[in-house]
Symmetry: C2
Subunit: 258 residues, 2 copies
């Protein structure tokens, strides 16, 4: 299988760097093909702007969606964007690895999604009708592929539990896992999280790589998070609210898993 | 009063640009002082890296927290970071205005938080003991100041409601409002949100600016979101889980408001 690792950490000699190297070696040893988008090493352009469409009239009003659509359709995207889209097409599974900074991904990776997820590729796909609202949330260009987050945090496990002060990790990651991965069609596996990264000694590192190795071995077999598919009949269209008879009375993120 | 507007949109001739200009004029007309950090116009460096500490040994291992701490303590931060910290010290209230891209703020603004919130300024403040876990979540360098998000989205209002497919807007914004604003001490006002931005005609624009004007007039009087303060006794230390007798059985983000 083909695995892409999109990786954002500024220091190769870090826990993240070591875990990324471990993942590459482990996947290669299992016979998989691996590509890594090491965003810091690539000096990835984090900011979406008019320069992302090569044939843009600089005097024209910039529209993030319409300019992206034009560039994607006409082959006038910035070359770095096209290269990442090609890696996504190639991949059967994608790992997104990053330290949790301010309860989300680093800016450099956020900018990867903003720029690589062009209109017509990451969103704006499919038809809108009285039965469908585009190909998204379970359908889209990345359908059939799997994705998994590999996340490190400085806080303690308990700080990210159901009643922990930071909020549950699964809820903090919902905008990413549901809104950025399930949205264009990925099947999203539960995240692999390592907390309290300042206290990783040799024993804990060995334990962590063993656990990560198991998760990598299960990339093709593990059950994804059972997010509800948008066009499955569970949602009213066009309101896109969950049907009243499903999970009655439940609100918030949890309503969107079966 | 002094109001800072941190603003992220790539096109001045946009709805966001018009609303930002309206806010500036409205606040000035009320006698307030206003500064704007227009991140796209400033060509803000979105990516946190070793260059943010001016006296760093380039051969040394980069540590985002420790290098930030050193630079903040020794006055060797990149000048753009120091300038933004000074604006925050000056401000009595801060508006953060942005289009919701992939269910969060644009990368350029995420990078503003990552770089401006230095160790010792945005986090790593205060003492840890058996009764306190640092000055954060209601205490910190920005205590006494107010913050409010001004957010635009392309989706419909119903898509962001309690059972809407995107997840409730208040939950999508929790990592920002609780994790990035309340964390260093801001009192956070409910967000001002405008949905379905492709359908803003003159009538709706007039209605929107009237509503925004009212919110700006209420910056000093409106009740903030009643997030629980970390060191108030509501949380066990060091686990930082909510005491069992408070909101018994409630999990997730809602447990952290009174």
């Amino acid at each position: 299988m083909n695995v892409l690792i999109v990786y954002a950490h500024p220091e190769p000699r870090s826990l993240n760097g070591a875990l990324k190297d471990f993942a590459v070696q482990h996947l290669l040893a299992q016979g998989h093909a691996v590509q890594v988008s090491d965003l810091y090493a690539m000096n990835w352009k984090a900011t979406l702007d008019g320069a992302d469409r090569l044939d843009r009239d600089p005097a024209a009003r910039f529209d993030a969606s319409l300019d992206s659509r034009h560039a994607y359709e006409h082959g006038t995207q910035s070359a770095d964007i096209t290269a990442e889209q090609d890696k996504l097409r190639w991949a059967d599974a994608v790992l997104f690895q990053f330290p949790l900074w301010w309860f989300s991904m680093p800016a450099i990776m956020k900018g990867w999604f903003e720029r690589v997820y062009a209109y017509g590729f990451g969103y704006g796909v499919g038809e809108h009708s009285d039965r469908r609202w585009g190909d998204r949330y379970g359908e889209g260009m990345l359908a059939g592929k799997r994705a998994m987050l590999v996340v490190t945090t400085g806080g303690w496990d308990s700080h990210y539990e159901a009643r922990g002060i930071n909020g549950p990790l699964e809820d903090l990651l919902f905008p990413i896992q549901h809104g950025m991965l399930f949205y264009p069609g990925f099947e999203v596996l539960p995240p692999f999280a390592i907390h309290r990264t300042s206290r990783v000694d040799d024993a804990r590192y060995t334990e962590t790589t063993a656990a990560l190795g198991q998760r990598l071995d299960g990339l093709w077999t593990q059950a994804p998070i059972p997010f509800r598919r948008q066009n499955s009949g569970d949602y009213l269209i066009p309101q896109l609210t969950l049907r009243e008879d499903l999970a009655p009375g439940v609100t918030g993120f949890t309503a969107h898993t079966v």
